[in-house]
Amino acid sequence: MDDLVEVKEVRKIFKGKGKSPDVLAVDTVNLKIKKNEFITILGPSGCGKSTLLRMIGGLEKQSEGIIYLARNEITGPSANRGMVFQAYSLFPWLTVEENIQFGSKIKKMESAKKKAITQQYIELVGLKGFEQHYPKQLSGGMQQRVAIARALANEPEILLLDEPFGALDSQTRLIMQELLLTIWEKTHKTILFITHDVEEAIFLGTRVLTMTSRPGKIKADIPITLEHPRSYKIKTEHHFIDLKEQLTELIRSESLKSIELQAQ
């Protein structure tokens, strides 16, 4: 099968301001994402994993290399790559419903179809009854559900999630992981998910990529063969725990390096 996304020899250098030196954030990343995959990228903080995601999203321009989406070169952000951010990014002046319709409005979709799609995704994320609420009236977890629904309602080729549950409390976080997994099991939407949480990466992904500390490179590419549908209970199974141990080791050595790097 064709690759949906292909990242080819991509490097990102942030130009230093004033006297501070240039920073090599992402170093020669090669990555292929197939349709229907749920890829999680695991890396220590500051390793450039968000930068990689933002380059695929078109929000950041790579310094070298090319990124393709369905063989077309990515030159900027577009509706075919939906994004969910860690910080709340709902439009506070729009209701839940209007937020989710933001994309279809741009596409000038006819009203009946727009309504149907909105309703479909509101139900998918379990927010029926909250259509007319404003973001301020929702909890953090609910806001992120709307953000996911808003991105999905636009029917993108791929969903890019940048630590979307990073700001949530651990209980809500677990519930949101299950919700996202259920959505993937239903829709098989291609997803690229950034996290620094080992358990989250294994539980959600069909493939986990780990990254080195800065400059970020892909260090390991580990397929997760746990069966679907997955329940939260698999987190205590042997296979899961073995994977967790293996990945924790990989990340730990990188985290130590990145701490040393900061100490210098």
Binding site: F85, S89, W93, Q137, A151, N154
Partner: protein, 286 residues
């Protein structure tokens, strides 16, 4: 037996109520702690009563000579005379018209320019230094120049308000616009927005409440500019009534004129504030 038990319960209840009250009193000094609407209103009124109280104390007891500071009743009767014999309503309307004309004009040009300056670096680079420079030149100092250039008619008054307001409006709007959260802009792009779409559907609505606050603030300043303009050269308007009263040594009229400006300013601010709360309800509370 029953009676005794009730008393005990009552004592406990009273004790609890006391601790609750004590706790409540303590909460009043807790930073950011909301208070009841009634208490808020009472305190608002109390501050005005206090001001009038001190004024009364100083004047009715003749601690201050009534020639320099008349009593509250004297000021009220001066006001009545102004309205009944000197057609003060006309002066108020004239001043109001001048402020509104100049201010609205400055909004028509200043708000869009500020929006462009806050969103496009090329516009910012071109206008920012110039506008910042202009803003620091006090408009009052320009009045003699304006009089030479355009005389002492209505146009001169409107120009004073316009020049006095526009540069602040431009800069404050630009700051509001440039502070729009980047996540919102990026989210819009990934949902398929064009550059213009982002400007219209994200930058504008996101910065509107802040722009409204800036407008309120600058309108407050505009009220003082118009009085300065009217003090210097005008036949009508609240400012001209004040300067005329000084010549006639009618201190009551001066104070009534000043109070009128205060009320007008407060009124316009209240109007804009309610409008803002109504239009941008999403920005206020839950």
């Amino acid at each position: 037996m029953t009676k005794g038990r009730t008393t005990v319960t009552e004592t406990i209840f009273l004790k609890e109520e006391k601790t609750v009250r004590r706790k409540k009193n303590k909460d009043l000094l807790k930073p950011y702690k909301p208070i009841s609407k009634n208490l808020y209103l009472t305190l608002c009124i109390a501050s005005f009563i206090l001001l009038v109280g001190i004024w009364s104390l100083l004047t009715y007891t003749s601690i201050i000579d009534s020639v320099f500071l008349p009593t509250p009743t004297d000021v009220i009767s001066s006001g009545i005379t102004l309205f009944t014999e000197f057609n003060f309503v006309n002066d108020i309307l004239v001043t109001l018209y001048r402020v509104l004309a100049g201010f609205v004009l400055s909004l028509i040009i200043g708000v869009p320019l500020g929006i462009f300056m806050g969103s496009f670096k090329i516009v910012e680079a071109f206008f920012e230094p110039l506008v910042s420079f202009m803003r620091y030149m006090p408009v009052s100092a320009f009045i003699p120049l304006f009089i030479l250039w355009i005389g002492i008619g209505e146009l001169e008054k409107v120009t004073v308000i316009f020049i006095g307001s526009i540069f602040s409006i431009i800069l404050m709007v630009a700051v509001e616009v440039s502070n729009v959260r980047r996540e919102l802009v990026e989210a819009a792009y990934t949902l398929g927005s064009t550059h213009f779409g982002v400007l219209r559907s994200v930058v504008l609505p996101a910065s509107m409440p802040g722009i409204m606050d800036a407008i309120r603030l600058v309108l407050g300043w505009a009220w003082s500019y118009i009085i300065v303009a009217e003090l210097i050269a005008a036949q009508t308007g609240i400012g001209s009534v004040i300067i005329e009263s000084q010549r006639m040594f009618r201190i009551g009229d001066i104070i009534f004129g000043i109070l009128t400006i205060g009320v007008l300013g407060l009124g316009s601010d209240f109007l804009l504030k309610s409008l803002s709360k109504k239009l941008f309800a999403w920005n206020y509370g839950r």
